[in-house]
């Protein structure tokens, strides 16, 4: 390729566009990476399996300030078949951690509902740790119309 004026201009524009796109994507990616890191920290490096956990979120949240989220885990809640804790992440929030629920045999059922803040459209992730060490996760996308971390 010859180094003509047209070529040089085209290349520069392309590079600039790439740089802008890159800069815009980085914060979201950083948070998603953080979320992944925190999941691994929570599970102790075990890759979570599918199933058992079911996360219930609205498909579209008009107000990101209060998004109802409920999570339930299939378990007898007795002996070794016990859910110890469930952690909730939102991978597009300024800080991905949302809440950690701890259950005991006295809970009867591993089920919890709360209301959370979501800054923008993103994935909500629930990871459950069982007493026998196995981990399961579920992930749901929530579309947010008005973000809930105002500033």
């Amino acid at each position: 390729m010859q180094l003509t004026r047209r070529n040089v201009l085209g290349l520069t524009a392309g590079a600039a566009a790439f740089a802008v796109a890159g800069a815009r994507v980085t914060p979201a990616l950083a948070s998603a990476e953080d979320a992944e890191k925190m999941i691994m920290e929570f599970t102790g490096g075990v890759m979570p399996g599918e199933g058992k956990v079911s996360l219930n979120t609205p498909e579209i949240a008009e107000n990101g300030n209060t998004v109802p989220v409920s999570v339930s885990v299939e378990s007898a809640m007795e002996g070794d078949d016990l859910v110890e804790s469930v952690i909730i992440f939102a991978d597009g929030n300024p800080s991905p951690a949302v809440a950690t629920f701890h259950f005991t045999e006295m809970s009867g059922e591993a089920l919890a509902t709360t209301r959370i803040r979501l800054a923008k459209t993103q994935n909500v992730i629930a990871v459950a740790k069982m007493k026998d060490g196995s981990v399961f996760m579920d992930k749901k996308q929530v579309k947010v119309t008005i973000g809930g971390c105002g500033g």
């Binding site: 629920f101 701890h102 259950f103 809930g148 971390c149």
Partner: protein
């Protein structure tokens, strides 16, 4: 700061029954992400832990992060082995502790 928490526990249950408990407490849950009109960050002030015990035994616990909405609401289940009292505790970042109780009778 926080007003009296609101709690919903059935008055009675049969032995071993799993009941649903709902709790709500008024709290602004200041996330630490927001800025005031001069651009200074507003310091974080949230409830960071919620626990529910039944006659001294833990039933349910939650560690809260700033992503929990203002006026934290929880709904969870509990097994009722016998008559007794549920005790609910909320811990604030500033060290305050808010407490509430609800009795239940086994028929």
């Amino acid at each position: 700061m926080a007003s009296k928490p609101r709690i919903k526990v059935p008055k009675s249950a049969s032995a071993g029954e799993v009941i649903t408990i709902k709790t709500l407490i008024s709290h602004e849950m200041e996330s630490g992400q927001r800025k005031d009109k001069d651009g200074n960050p507003i310091p974080r002030k949230i409830i960071n832990k919620f626990t529910c015990t039944f006659e001294g035994e833990t039933v349910f616990e939650c560690d809260l992060d700033p992503a929990i909405s203002a006026n934290p609401y929880f709904e969870f289940n509990a097994k009722v082995p016998a008559s007794g009292t549920f005790v609910f505790t909320w811990l604030d970042d500033d060290g305050s502790v808010y407490e509430a109780e609800a009795p239940i009778e086994v028929k």
